[in-house]
Symmetry: C3
Subunit: 285 residues, 3 copies
Amino acid sequence: MKKTTKTTKEGLRREIREAVRRVRKENPMAPSITNTVTINLVANAQLAVGGSAAMVYLADEGEAMAALGGAMYINMGTMLPVYAETLPRTVKVLAEQEKPWIVDPVGIGVGGLRASLLLGFRADKPTIIRGNASEIIALAELWELDTGKKSGGVRGVDSTDAVESARTAAVSLARHTGGAVAVSGPVDLVTDGKSVALVEGGSKYLPMITGAGCSLGGVAAVYACVASPFVAALTATAIYDFAGAKAEKDANGPASFQVAFLDALYQATPEDVGAQHFSLETVGK
Amino acid sequence: MKKTTKTTKEGLRREIREAVRRVRKENPMAPSITNTVTINLVANAQLAVGGSAAMVYLADEGEAMAALGGAMYINMGTMLPVYAETLPRTVKVLAEQEKPWIVDPVGIGVGGLRASLLLGFRADKPTIIRGNASEIIALAELWELDTGKKSGGVRGVDSTDAVESARTAAVSLARHTGGAVAVSGPVDLVTDGKSVALVEGGSKYLPMITGAGCSLGGVAAVYACVASPFVAALTATAIYDFAGAKAEKDANGPASFQVAFLDALYQATPEDVGAQHFSLETVGK
Amino acid sequence: MKKTTKTTKEGLRREIREAVRRVRKENPMAPSITNTVTINLVANAQLAVGGSAAMVYLADEGEAMAALGGAMYINMGTMLPVYAETLPRTVKVLAEQEKPWIVDPVGIGVGGLRASLLLGFRADKPTIIRGNASEIIALAELWELDTGKKSGGVRGVDSTDAVESARTAAVSLARHTGGAVAVSGPVDLVTDGKSVALVEGGSKYLPMITGAGCSLGGVAAVYACVASPFVAALTATAIYDFAGAKAEKDANGPASFQVAFLDALYQATPEDVGAQHFSLETVGK
């Protein structure tokens, strides 16, 4: 007599544990097209949770990896000229093969190519969108979705908005794509447009290492190989909050934190991640 | 009755402490166009001292970041084709907006694009030039400035000249640009063309981790957001010498050193950095 | 009365110790054209064993570094458009100057540019080929050499074949090039087409850090500056197996392992590496 588990916390916890377990067992490959600053951390975080990594730049390689991988991670942090061709062709294969894909709109607001590609993703509907509050609000604005407020202007890679301020934008984005949105901050927010989970934990050091958010996106792609978009985004967020809190205890600063954090990702059990504290709310129409 | 502090050690110490303090408080962004080998370390070092990082490759993004940042770091380590367009356009915006910018002529002597861009920087006059002795001498030669000796030939990324041998070249470069020059070595040399500071400290491990010099340049860019070129270069050098000496005590080799070094950058107080030993000399005409 | 040492274990051990010693003393430069995911680890591993590193992308810089370096490392992990020009021109200089060069066919089977370049290397005959079993078999197939079995299809970056299954392919490749082949796996295999060495050691963590194999290739290039292809490949493999086993004792997970591993590379003495256990067999015709 298994009940629908979609909107209960206990059901979600079960699915989180299952996602962690399956990734450790099945070693799914989630290829990336990602920025050169944090590309190494993305790969190592994906390996630490039990996944496989492969990074490419060229258009035909993006297409090949879209076909080979279980899900794909696209991070817009450092645009290269070849991306004008690579990203649309890769996303086309992802759509044709109905593969989950994660977009991280790092640097939204800076430069013409990034803006043009992100605008194109409005119709492509990425499965999971991950960003900090500023980026999520900026993407909802770019796509002319409801953000619950009026704002504008260029935004960099830093997080200037509190997560809560991005709630309406996140819900709008998730309803538009039919997938999930994960917003990183002191408290993390994950939504599928119907429910909103607020996840606690993490560490003061996470914003002090470059690539904490990028690698969370890569890890979400790994979980998206074996779980629904909402559960994948929630599992990635929960394992980061668990590992961050654990690693902070052993850290003397951001670098020893990063080492302890990756070790903690590697050591985290399904039970550890499934037990991470979060609240769950249903979103009104 | 505040006296001019320009050429007294106590005045410089005060300005160093103030630079460290202001960066921790104001979190200034110093974007980079930098090599792919050490890009992650540059970003993490900038974050560790309290700054913000953002790395780009495309021309319009270079222009945007020049306008957004408080200062910019340009490292020539790994040239890409797009740099032929990106670097001149970025430097033009930096000049128009009178933003400080730091050049690290890594690999000077190798390849045509790097030589052509570095030659162009002669007229653009970067605010701070950072390199090892070989690179500083080679740049002074490329710009046909006085190096105090006759030499020539191709130079790689290693440091084959002692810092002292680059003193004349460094002073010549600083006088030409009107900014500052920082030369890294067993003893570090920083000059604004009028004064020369020799800073002690550091670690035998610093030359054994790739990117020690690159990340010092990125950190100098962070301090250049809040301090004069000379003080910014001196503060970056002093915090590196402080953190290097501190980290060596906890290290078993270059990798544990790098972790301890970034942690030490993060932990360093204004007083720690301001107390770092250096000598100060006035340069003759 | 020095005897030929080519096929005796004791002779090889002597040459391994000598390679480790000479690199620590002579600090040879082995430049790389390598992927952006693990480029930092490649450089730091090369420094840790006592070599020098320099990474480039542009064609004329590849040519310059081929001429400047003692040996060169070419890793196919992340293809960029400029590689279509850079790799052939670099390899041409390496051939003209009879410099050793190492190819790591990461990602073989993915994309047209990589396939085309790797096919061209058939005639260029790289001095050392390094890969996991899947990659070595795939390269032998691409070059239409004997692999001892029938197989085919696309292969990613993961190691799906046991090292032993790549023995015939490795021997075929070594006989074709006249150089050496190193196959990484739970037991490592190194061959010059006449002898096969099987090296034990390493760590369960090595496959869990991205770039373990890439950096081994870079380290092999460093040793190729001072030793024969077979001894260089064997020395790199042996120091990795030594350092891996040593580092695992201090590790809590893959990230603390990587730190301890690089430290162990740095600490390893000629005697440590020369004493690493391996078996040696003569290959039949």
